[in-house]
Symmetry: C3
Amino acid sequence: MAIQELKINTGRQGLYEITDEISGFITKNKISEGICVVFTPHTTAGITINENADPDVVRDILFGLEKAFPDRKEFIHSEGNSAAHLKASCVGSSVNIIITNGKLMLGTWQGIYFCEFDGPRSRKVTIKVIVDADL
Amino acid sequence: MAIQELKINTGRQGLYEITDEISGFITKNKISEGICVVFTPHTTAGITINENADPDVVRDILFGLEKAFPDRKEFIHSEGNSAAHLKASCVGSSVNIIITNGKLMLGTWQGIYFCEFDGPRSRKVTIKVIVDADL
Amino acid sequence: MAIQELKINTGRQGLYEITDEISGFITKNKISEGICVVFTPHTTAGITINENADPDVVRDILFGLEKAFPDRKEFIHSEGNSAAHLKASCVGSSVNIIITNGKLMLGTWQGIYFCEFDGPRSRKVTIKVIVDADL
């Protein structure tokens, strides 16, 4: 199955919804049953699934991550972005979504987000599907 | 391969072990080798793997998450459950478990848990297996 | 597809890079396209992907996790390692990496790490690949 790469130009910090791009990939490739892996190849960014109805949720998630993983004077990494690396490992580099009947099995309020923790940058996300061979 | 949905009625916050239900799905469907994806379609809940021997571990995990991601007066999401959304993105919406010789490859002390961060609610978990086609 | 198990002898806390071992497994088994799951069967350890260029990043990640999830006097689990269980659920028990053209699709700065939060111990990591059947 083909792999698709998305490109995202980001601001300093932010969550960028990519649900439509991933749904479009499933539809275009006529995938019926399988698993979709959404992966980002960066070390100061992540992928998460969370609410896409009220944008205040995204704002509060970024605020809460900043409080839990603030920049600290004890950090020694010379680029000064250790908090972004920490958020990346907490949120994770990828998510899995189940595909059935040709659609992503997301909940009513779920959206898929690219998480920028150390922008602005030009970023990539890779989408890969493993189709169910046992049907 | 069939998909199975579990239903869980939760309390306010809690970790609910679902290992037996997932093992039962593997056995019932006679799956020998593959990957099992356990996914929850909610944005204030998660799936994690942790110790299932001493219930105090689960209690301490919930306590520690509450300390790291408390409710904050600066949160603006009007439903007032931003801390639960934050915990969901930290813990994650899904886990993967390797299946071999017809069994989940879990460690001795590992159990699979549905994590409720904003109950009580009626919740769902979806189980999907990708069988290994290359055998 | 074969499963491979790695063994790692750890210190008290640390991130141990295992990228070369996983790349070697892909090469040895001549896997061209698929998904690689890297899973650890322990409840006080995790798997993460982060920077492998400057070792100070790893040091800062461990420091930041310790600050976000410290040992707490309110913890009741008698083994006294609840903070390690908490870090395990935050970082996660596994990662997925996409394989294409016979290689792990990792970013320039990404390495795969076993995370020890409660050593020293003798630990295991399991590598499993699902090859793409739809090619």
